[in-house]
Every structure is written in C-alpha cells, then in structure tokens.
C-alpha cells in the first residue's frame, strides 16, 4: 500500500528515500474535518510544498536549528536562513546542528550545510549577516517567514518591514510571519498576517521588561550579586571610562566589570559574583532550555506547514507556553491595536499640485471633511517638515511652510502625520498632478 502511494506521487524526487512522505501524505492526500475550503488534496498541494514554496528562517540559534531541521523533514525544499552570529562553545548544548569543530564559524552557513548533508534533496541557502542588509525585493521572494530570534529590536524590524511590504495592488506581497520566542521554561509562537492581524508592535506592551533594579538600590543598598554587577556596569563604567562604550562581547570589558563588582560584593559581604553571572546580567541573558525551544519550534513549523498547504486551520493567533510549573499552554487571539505605530493608524493617497506649499497642504488636512486633523505635525522618513511644537522645533521648521511640498517630498513619497486627534499617525502617500 505504502509503495503504491509513493510510486504514484509524482513530486517525490530521486533523492527522497522510500516512504519518506508516507505520514505527511496522510494529511495531504485527503481533506479532513478542519481543512480549509481552498485545500487541494493530492499532487497540487504536494507540488507547491515541495517544489514552489520558498521559506525564510531568521535566526539559526536555539530555535533556528530546530526550525531548520523540522522544515526540512516536513518536506519544505527551498529554505533560506539568515543569522549574523558565529558559533560559541556555549551554544553546543542545545544548537545541535553545530559541533565543537564549528566554534567560531558562522551559524547560518554551518546550519545550512548540516541540514543539506542530512536531508538529501533540500536546498538551504544561508546568509551570514544582518537582516537589515536585505531590501524589500529580497523579502518579497518568500512565501513565508519564520523567526527564531532573541532580540526585540530585530523582531520589530522584520515586523515593520513585512507590514510595509504589503501592497494593495499585489496580493503576493502579504507574507505571513511566524514568530517563535523562548525565555527559560516559557515560550510563545504566533502567526502574524501583516496588516490583517495583530502585529509584533501591537503587543509591545506585553513584553517582560528587562530586569532593572532601582538605581538607588544599586548605589546604596546592594543585597544581590546582580546589584553589584549593575553597579559596576551602570555607574562605575561610565564614571571611570567616560564616553567609551561598554562592549558586552569583549572579555576584557567583562573582566573589568567582574573585578569591580567582586570588590563591591566583598565590601557588602555578598556572595555569588562570577564571570558567567556578570556576562548574564550585562547581556541580559536568559537561560535557554533545549526542550522549550523544541516545543516552540515544533509549533512554528506546524503553523508553517498548515499555512503553506491549507491542510488545517492555522493558529489564531497567539500560543503561549508556560513550563515553569507543570506544562501549561494557552491560545488566544491577540487583537490589533488601533494606535499601533506600525500597522495601526490610517493611510491615505492624495494627489496635489506641484505648486502647493506645505501651508496649503496643512490647511487641506485641517479643513477636509473626511480627514479633520487639528494641529498636524508632518515629517518624511528622513526629515521633519513642520512641527507644531515644541516652540524651538516649530520655529526651526516654520520656513518650510512656504516651501513647495514637491521640493521636500518626491513623487510617490510618504509623509507621516501625527496629531493629538489621531489614534496614532496617518501616513500620506503623495503624488503630484
């Protein structure tokens, strides 16, 4: 039975071993009770998954390694991976695509090579560098993006980039973003449909804030080894080194902090200041747990598979896992925020004469029946056009009022408008008649 299935499956290539997709095909060969109406059982969906679907994995660390392996084994064959880091010896306990001989090499390249060696027929294209190096055209080539990142900044960047990518004229420009994250025994996986569902920026206020101790405690009444380390990095480093920036990856800098923090700990009879704690506190390192990564990565890849194949309903839209006391998980729909600076607010295309001054545009914005903004402030992505306040900025931008909009904004250019009467901001797409 299994033989006939594989034999009749035209999309299995010579590099796929016998019965490779037997189990996955149980899902793809027939609709189930929860399959999407658009599901095309059989060869068509398999062809898309195995020959056409292009997926981007951002991050080749704890989550990234799991995600890459899962995707390759599920049958995705065109996988790209970006990571800017190199392998550290401390990664080897959980980033299982790396071996001791790989220490110092770029994660993306080693991970890609490992997966291709182990899973014949899959093509993993690595990029060793920053996500910010790539432009819109690069991100447009993918059907799906999965993130296994450890930084809020990188997540905000990719989220905003994918939201910006959405072009009403081009349905293909909407790239589902699956974001995984772990912190010790806790984790989350979410599906973000840029501009359709709640985005990463919408949920920014849900984030755990980085542990910060009151500065007066650090200065006067340290009780924990962490207080001594914060004292060394927050107060002593700038006092002694002035403007020199603390580089948390520089062993010499960490060594300096450790000695200063140890001396302070001794003075206050506090124990426990060590090299690893020092590094942990200043880099805000959260212990990474391999099993949490495995669960979250599995959830992300499961969503990627469901979205790519429409074989089952996908996550709507936030799954959280709390493994600190037993195993608890909860799934809910995180709602879009009206005043989200990335996906909220409104956008408006307006067409004006090349002769219009900035003042005329502002007048139009305040008078127009369907806009009605009081005291708008305007800027382009590069510079301020006109600010209503504070007085100094108003004065500095006032000369622009008499200038033509076309001198400041290119045809098709964007203007960000903020005003207290707007939920967050309004973006204007300006074209000239």
């Amino acid at each position: 039975m299994a033989d006939t299935l594989v034999d009749s499956n035209g999309t299995v290539t010579s590099s796929d071993w016998k019965d490779r997709f037997y189990h996955v095909d149980q899902i793809l060969d027939r609709p189930g009770p929860r399959t999407d109406p658009s599901f095309l059982a059989g060869d068509e969906v398999k062809d898309f998954l195995r020959n056409n679907c292009k997926i981007l994995v951002i991050g080749a660390g704890g989550l990234g390694c799991e995600i890459l392996a899962n995707l390759a084994l599920t049958g995705f064959k065109d996988i790209h991976v970006i990571d800017m880091d190199t392998i550290d010896i401390s990664n080897l306990n959980r980033q299982f695509l790396f071996r001791q001989a790989d220490v110092g090499k770029p994660k993306a390249i080693v991970a890609a090579q490992f997966v291709m060696n182990r899973v014949p027929g899959v093509k993993v294209t690595p990029y060793y560098g920053r996500i910010q190096d790539k432009d819109d055209a690069y991100y447009l080539q993918f059907n799906l993006v999965i993130c296994g990142l450890d930084s809020v900044e990188a997540r905000r960047w990719i989220n905003a980039t994918l939201v910006n990518l959405v072009d009403p004229e081009n349905p293909e420009s909407l790239k589902p973003l699956i974001d995984g994250g772990t912190e010790g025994f806790k984790g989350q996986a979410r599906v973000i449909l840029p501009t359709v569902s709640s985005c990463y920026e919408c949920s920014l206020d849900m984030l755990n804030k980085p542990t910060a101790f009151p500065i007066c405690t650090i200065a006067n009444t340290p009780r924990l080894p962490e207080h001594c380390i914060e004292w060394a990095s927050v107060l002593e480093w700038p006092r002694v080194h002035g403007d020199k920036k603390l580089d948390t990856d520089d062993p010499e800098h960490i060594g300096w902090l450790l000695s200063v923090a140890s001396a302070r700990a001794k003075e206050f009879k506090i124990e426990g200041v060590t090299w690893s704690l020092t590094q942990g506190v200043v880099k805000n390192v959260i212990p990474a747990i391999a099993s949490t990564n495995a669960i979250v990565a599995a959830s992300c890849c499961n969503e990627a598979f469901k979205i790519a194949t429409s074989s089952a309903a996908y996550l709507n839209n936030y799954f959280m896992l709390i493994g600190t006391d037993g195993v608890y998980s909860y799934t809910f729909e995180h709602e879009k925020r009206d005043h989200c600076p990335v996906c909220g607010g409104e956008s408006l295309e307006i067409s004006i004469s090349r002769e219009w001054t900035v003042e005329r545009l502002i007048e139009m914005l305040t008078e127009s029946q369907n806009i009605q903004i009081k005291r708008p402030s305007l800027s382009t992505p590069l510079k301020s056009i006109y600010f209503q306040s504070p007085p100094q900025l108003e004065e500095a931008t006032r000369p622009n009022l008499e200038k033509k909009v076309s001198e400041l904004v290119p045809d098709g250019g964007e203007v960000t408008v903020t005003a207290s009467t707007l939920p967050f901001s309004l973006s204007l797409l300006i074209t000239y008649t």
């Binding site: 905000r156 500065i215 200065a219 005291r375 800027s379 504070p390 100094q392």
Partner: protein, 178 residues
C-alpha cells in the same frame, strides 16, 4: 498556500502602504509635538533635525530648588518605547536623588518604565523630584541623610550648592537661572 488576501479585502477596504519611518521615530514625533509642559520646563534641540538627542531645562517656581535652572540630557535609542529614554543631569547638583555623575533615581526611568509612558511623563516626573526631593531613595546619600535629619541645614546646603558652592569637598555647579 492559504489565501489570506480574500480575508483582508473583507476586513478593511482601505488601502495601506505604511511609511518607512521607524516606529520609534513616529512615536518620538508624536511624543514631542504633543508635549504639554508648564512654563517651568523648556526643551532645547542642539540640532533641530535630530529628534533623538536634546536637553530639558527645568526652572522650578516653588520649593527648595526655586531659582535654579537644571539641565537634563535626553538620549533616545531606536528601541524606544520598549526601552526608556536615557536621561542625565548635565550639572553637578546637590540633590538626594541625583548623583554627582548626573544619574537620576526616578522609578519610571528604570524599573517602572512601560511603553505606555511617554516623554511628557518622564519630564513631569523629573520636575517632581525638585518639588519633593525623596530621602528614601537616595543616590546622593549624604544629601538624603541631611534632608532627613536636618531640613533647615539641607535647605541651606541646597541654596549654597546652587550658587556654585562647595559642600564637604564637592564643588557644585552654579545653576542660578539667568
């Protein structure tokens, strides 16, 4: 591949193409243009094109620090409002909650910062420190000690420090408003 676009069409008809301006930048524009400051506080932008680095001058019109002009530097990074702005006092002042390096002990600048707070809340918080110096969260321990034990003596030290006086071997900046 699931068809998401059809859902989008039903959900919101308005066309969207968002600007390349970063979320932090838009948020700072919004915060700044909607500042609602009393006449005792003014902002100053050394480079009006750079919205992320500026100073705030507080000239308290009541309380122990009346008559002084206190200048704080604001430094906002691209992770705002996930991270609070970095705020420092640019002068050496005698204040229980400000140390000699200009570090400020204000809860919303560190442990109690939340993205829903804004620049206005930080500025109002700073002004409050001059109206009600707090001896319980000291950063300048001696000043706090003095405030707690001998309010009159503390008041005298504040006045003297504001004139550029020397207290217990520390030379303070003359901060008297021009």
């Amino acid at each position: 591949m699931i068809k998401i676009w059809s859902m989008k069409k039903n959900e919101d008809a308005q066309a969207k193409k968002k600007p390349k301006t970063s979320a932090a930048q838009i948020r700072v524009q919004k915060d700044l243009t909607e500042l609602d400051l009393p006449s005792t506080m003014t902002t100053n932008f050394p480079d009006p094109a750079d919205l992320l680095n500026f100073t705030l001058t507080i000239t308290p019109d009541e309380g122990m620090y009346k008559g002084g002009a206190f200048v704080f530097s604001f430094n906002i990074n691209t992770n705002y409002p996930h991270e609070p702005p970095k705020v420092k006092c640019t002068q050496t002042i005698y204040h229980p909650n400000v140390d000699l390096e200009g570090n400020v002990c204000l809860n919303i600048l560190r442990e109690d910062w939340k993205p829903v707070l804004n620049l206005n809340s930080v500025m109002v918080g700073l002004q409050y420190l001059f109206l009600e110096p707090n001896a319980d969260d000291p950063l300048n321990k001696e000043a706090a000690e003095e405030l707690r034990k001998n309010r009159d003596q503390f008041l005298y030290s504040v006045k003297s420090s504001m004139r550029g006086g020397n207290i217990k071997g520390v030379q303070y900046a003359n901060v008297l408003a021009q």
